[in-house]
Amino acid sequence: MEKIKTPALSEYLIRLADDRLILGHRLSEWCGHAPILEEDIALTNIALDCIGQANFLYSTAAESEGNNRTADEIVYFREALEYRNLLLVEQPNIDFASTIVRQLLYDTYGILLYEQLQQSTFKPLAGIAQKAVKELRYHFRHSSQWLLRLGDGTVESHLRTQNAVDKLWKYTDEMFISDAVEVELAAKGIAVKSEALKERWFTIMRDLISSATLTVPVQGSFIRKGGREGKHSEHLGHLLSEMQIVARSYPDIVW
């Protein structure tokens, strides 16, 4: 498939969409395997919200490109190197604690981001954000309540959760990098400068992690980043090969 150079708006929408899709995909892997039946329902529900938001964002991106590329083509016929999601969201489900911590780190960021995107001068995005914020607040309630239970539950759950926090923390700085695309769109009131969200995010996370009797890790000087330029962890390739196998095996079938 011919490579398409995407303009800033489409690039930005696809970033947001990729974050939601990949996170939703990871959650959907739990379906039928969760620790309790209520979590089978909850995690699937959150996955549905994430992928539903991604669907709107991809469709809006496709429309803004105006070159007949569809949302499904963006999802199923891009290589890992063309994906633009944060490294955080592609990290695997090592256990329930890693899923909850990954979710909470993102949900907190997501609320701050989408609250502001509701005022985007690009109306379709503002509309998506209004719906997304409501869903993200519910997701946050779920992930933060679990963080408290896992952190302040048993010795084992505490250890597993601290381990997940320590492991995933290094991926959080990437959320707050404002690059040229973001700066360009923020100047037009379309995008949000994510670097401006960091302080509030950190305060919320610090308080929550402490309430859960866990320790906030010290951020090293080396930032793990690259997702926005397509430089991912090895996990993403495997995730995509599973996601795309059927669509690519039968490119002529209409599903």
Binding site: A34, P35, E38, D40, I41, T44, D152, E156
Partner: protein, 316 residues
Amino acid sequence: MSENIAAMEAEFNRRIAAGETIEPNDWMPEKYRSQLKRLISQHAHSEIIGMLPEGNWITRAPSLRRKLALLAKVQDEAGHGHYLYSSAETLGISREEMFDQLHSGKAKYSSIFNYPTLSWADMGMIGWLVDGAAIINQTTMAKCSYGPYSRALLRICKEENFHKKQGMEIIATLIASGDTGKAMVQESFTRFWWPTLMMFGPHDTNSPNSPDMMKWKIKLKGNDELRQRFIDMTVEQAQKWGLSIPDQQLAFNEATRSWEIGEIDWNEFTAVINGNGPCNQERMETRRSAHDNGKWVRDAAHAYEEKHRSKITTAA
């Protein structure tokens, strides 16, 4: 005392005959209670195990729309399991006990979920055939004498009808997309046809639980009658789609106006029921490992609740 029980049983039978529903706090014969526990928990387990063959394709669904629909469908099944377990709990059995019975192999679930899902067309086939068969069983059962189960089934049937339509739409779309799609559907149909017919259970003459259950209106129609209703409906639809039915002996009986099938392979049925189907072991291992791996999470939730109980009480 025994006279007393006889009187209560007579009153119970009178109410059943009069078409009244029995509610959790009403007196009921022990055997009625135990049959219902078995039946409802078996149905709940089927929903939970039934999440696995479809869950198998969520991460591979070939379009965003299909992925969202499949996720929503499997979530519905978890929801069905959830209120069926609650419905069984009204009879005095806990969800933990029911899980133990499932994980130890004592409790059964629908045999169809011991067959693997091998292509995307299976997602359509499960909706059309498997949910279609379940609807026929359950709409009949929705008129059963036990209130909580009857009400749960009414709600479940509404959602199952939607699932069936969704499955049929997957199939219709694949067929319309050309030869490759149609071949995928035919292959899946050939695999699922006979196992789906087995879902209705053995012939009535070989169904050990039926007579009591009929008397108490826990079961309202025989296996064979329901199976026949399904066959007549499905053969017609398969013909509309131009699918060939994998049964050389299939013939239309002009006198009864219905389709007669060849003999079901009851050896296969018995093998699957007794744990020797293609996926019995995998399904059970998946369930057990989900349960075992989740133990530390459930323990954490309990420990947290214990620690914070006093605080919560004070705050309230």
